[in-house]
């Protein structure tokens, strides 16, 4: 009995790996996609960081607005590729490859898991590639810092990829998906604390920001970063409070993981439903 369970698990694991490899192979082949994906966050870093940096007071410690912005831009960079992974489910339906996968003798949950894991990988790569520009934002090139930031980016990517997958399996068409993600992306980024500190927002906005998974990703990345900076201005780096309490780093990471897992679970249930 245990051998048949092991065989079945192996079969499913191979399917997950096959889907993951398919997506990442195509990603590695299209390096222009990565380069183009990096341009927008870099432009933002340059335009907002430099532009707003002249308005936002510098406390004199050399840690200015650009540094504040950097973790937010890292998280933001993962968002578009994470949603693109959800869109690829609908593209696959359009171009037929989805049928090749659906007719295979494996569980549909495995196919979706492969999709989500490849999307997470690709989105994390987008964010991690931006770390090359750390110097511009006054962030030290420290391998331990980078590893910690990549871990946060991976969890943020997972959460957003799962949200994308959830939208993809419930929405009828690619057009609807693009409309929905277009609508979501703005509020998710703007209310994440990526661009401005959240501690002075009016109370009615505190609720939505606390519910936004990206808020926790940005705050997690930023608090990790501050540990590697000499001194940070409190006016900018005020800490995030949810219902008056300061969540721990572990709690923030757990929120990201749990949000992703919940979306994945709901998506898998829908995706596995036979026609």
């Amino acid at each position: 009995m245990s051998t048949t369970v092991a065989t079945r698990l192996d079969t499913e694991a191979r399917a997950v790996a096959a889907v993951w490899r398919r997506e990442t192979t195509a990603f590695l082949r299209e390096r222009t996609r990565l380069v183009l994906g990096l341009l927008q966050p870099l432009l933002l870093l340059a335009a907002l960081g430099v532009g707003l940096g002249t308005v936002v007071p510098d406390d004199g410690a050399g840690v200015g607005y650009v540094t504040f912005l950097f973790p937010g831009v890292l998280v933001m960079a993962t968002q578009a590729p994470a949603f693109a992974s959800g869109a690829s489910i609908l593209w696959d339906r359009e171009f037929g490859f989805l049928r090749e996968m659906l007719v295979a003798p494996v569980r549909r949950e495995s196919l979706l898991l492969g999709k989500v894991l490849s999307g997470t990988t690709i989105a994390t790569c987008h964010g991690a590639a931006l770390l090359a520009f750390s110097g511009v934002a006054g962030v030290p090139y420290d391998p331990v810092l980078f590893a910690a930031l990549v871990a946060v980016l991976a969890l943020a990517s997972f959460a957003m990829t799962c949200l994308g997958a959830l939208l993809a399996v419930f929405l009828p068409s690619l057009q609807a998906f693009q409309a929905a993600t277009g609508l979501l992306m703005g509020p998710l980024v703007f209310l994440s604390g990526a661009f401005f500190p959240l501690d002075r927002l009016p109370a009615w906005l505190a609720g939505p920001t606390a519910l936004n998974p990206l808020t926790h990703a940005v705050d997690a990345a930023r608090r990790i970063l501050t540990g590697y900076l000499p001194a940070v201005p409190d006016s900018l780096f005020g800490s995030l409070r949810v219902a008056g309490l300061r969540p721990s780093l572990e709690e923030e990471l757990a929120v990201l993981g749990a949000f992703g897992a919940l979306c994945l679970l709901l998506a898998a249930r829908r995706f596995a439903r036979p026609d």
């Binding site: 079969t11 191979r14 399917a15 790996a17 096959a18 889907v19 490899r21 398919r22 192979t25 195509a26 082949r29 299209e30 171009f95 037929g96 490859f97 989805l98 049928r99 090749e100 996968m101 659906l102 007719v103 295979a104 003798p105 494996v106 036979p274 026609d275």
Partner: protein, 334 residues
């Protein structure tokens, strides 16, 4: 095996010569009263099919006859509304995974990944179908050879021609050694040359892999490749048989003979073979059930006075018209 042992088979059944060596295989496909309704549409309305292992079986019918829906049910992709359906001995309701392991499918629209290479497409398929790891490399190699794509193994699929893609899809469908291969409109969108190639390929693959093949088509010329055909119209099988049988049920063959003296030749055929040919535009017309067999006899009986002979068989168009009262629509090729 001795005759005495034969009676001891589980069901007490005896098997014909040649079938004795292997245990009896279940029918490749057995469908009874298969129904699929979508809101407002009855796509399949009580379809019965029995396809023995090893057959090349065709579902012939116009677009919208329910062929693709039937294939989707056969692949356990779509659940029948009612009726029974077994594929390779597995029930599609209770054992869909076993059904999927036993089948290969080539859908009407391409389901290849254009961004991957030929070989990568095959490898993804091997992993999805649980082909034993040690066998992936040799099988991929063998299939590439069989599909004549060995020199394109590292090409991106989007750079292949339509004919090559179709060959690759058929090879991919057979990579996991299915018992039954479904080909849904396999020549749709192919130019005439690629179509001929595709058929060569299907026959070769079938010879190598020994799979049962079920294909759907609305092209009569292609139905002739099949061992047996079911003519499907409005979700039901309206006729079943070999292409020759279906033709002979519709009408006789016509043999057209050109001779120097048609009247004398006609009289001679009546005397020697008991036939009653008619003379049409100076040529003799003989109607017979099996014109191909009769033709040499006719030529012999006329002692070499025949200057040309034409044999025409009723087309499957005639067959379709006969059984459905409508002509097969000929679709504009895309």
């Amino acid at each position: 095996m001795k005759p005495g042992i034969r009676a001891e088979t589980p069901l007490g059944a005896t098997f014909p010569e040649g079938a004795r060596s292997a245990p009896p295989r279940p029918p490749a496909i057995r469908a009874e009263g298969l129904v699929k309704t979508y809101p407002g549409v009855e796509a399949v309305r009580g379809l019965d099919l029995l396809v023995p292992p090893g057959e090349l079986f065709g579902l012939l019918g116009p677009n919208g006859a329910g062929k693709s829906t039937t294939v989707a049910m056969l692949c356990a992709l779509t659940r029948p509304t009612s009726g029974s359906l077994w594929v390779a001995g597995h029930d599609v309701y209770t054992a869909p995974a076993a059904v999927r392991r036993s089948i290969g499918v080539v859908f009407q629209e391409s389901t290849l990944d254009g961004k991957l290479t030929v070989e990568e497409n095959l490898r993804v398929h091997a992993a999805l179908y649980g082909v034993p790891r040690a066998q992936v490399r040799p099988r991929v190699g063998a299939m590439l050879d069989l599909a004549d794509l060995a020199d394109r193994r590292r090409s991106l699929v989007r750079t292949l021609s339509g004919g090559m893609r179709r060959r690759l899809e058929i090879a991919r469908g057979l990579l996991h050694r299915p018992q039954v291969l479904f080909l849904d409109e396999p020549t749709a969108g192919l130019d005439p040359h690629s179509r001929v190639e595709m058929w060569d390929h299907v026959h070769r693959m079938r010879h190598e892999c020994g799979a049962t093949v079920l294909l759907t088509t609305h092209h009569l010329a292609e139905a002739d490749h099949c061992d047996r055909l079911a003519i499907v119209d409005r979700g039901r099988v309206v006729a079943l048989g070999s292409p020759a049988e279906l033709r002979s049920r519709v009408g006789d063959d016509r043999v057209l003979l050109v001779t120097d003296d048609p009247a004398r030749a006609a009289e001679r055929l009546t005397r020697t073979l008991g036939l009653h040919p008619t003379v049409l535009d100076g040529a003799l017309v003989v109607r017979a059930a099996d014109g191909a067999r009769l033709l040499p006899e006719l030529v012999t009986a006329l002692g070499g006075a025949v200057s040309s002979a034409t044999l025409s068989q009723p087309s499957l168009d005639d067959v379709f018209l006969h059984y459905t009262g409508r002509e097969l629509r000929t679709e504009a090729r895309t």
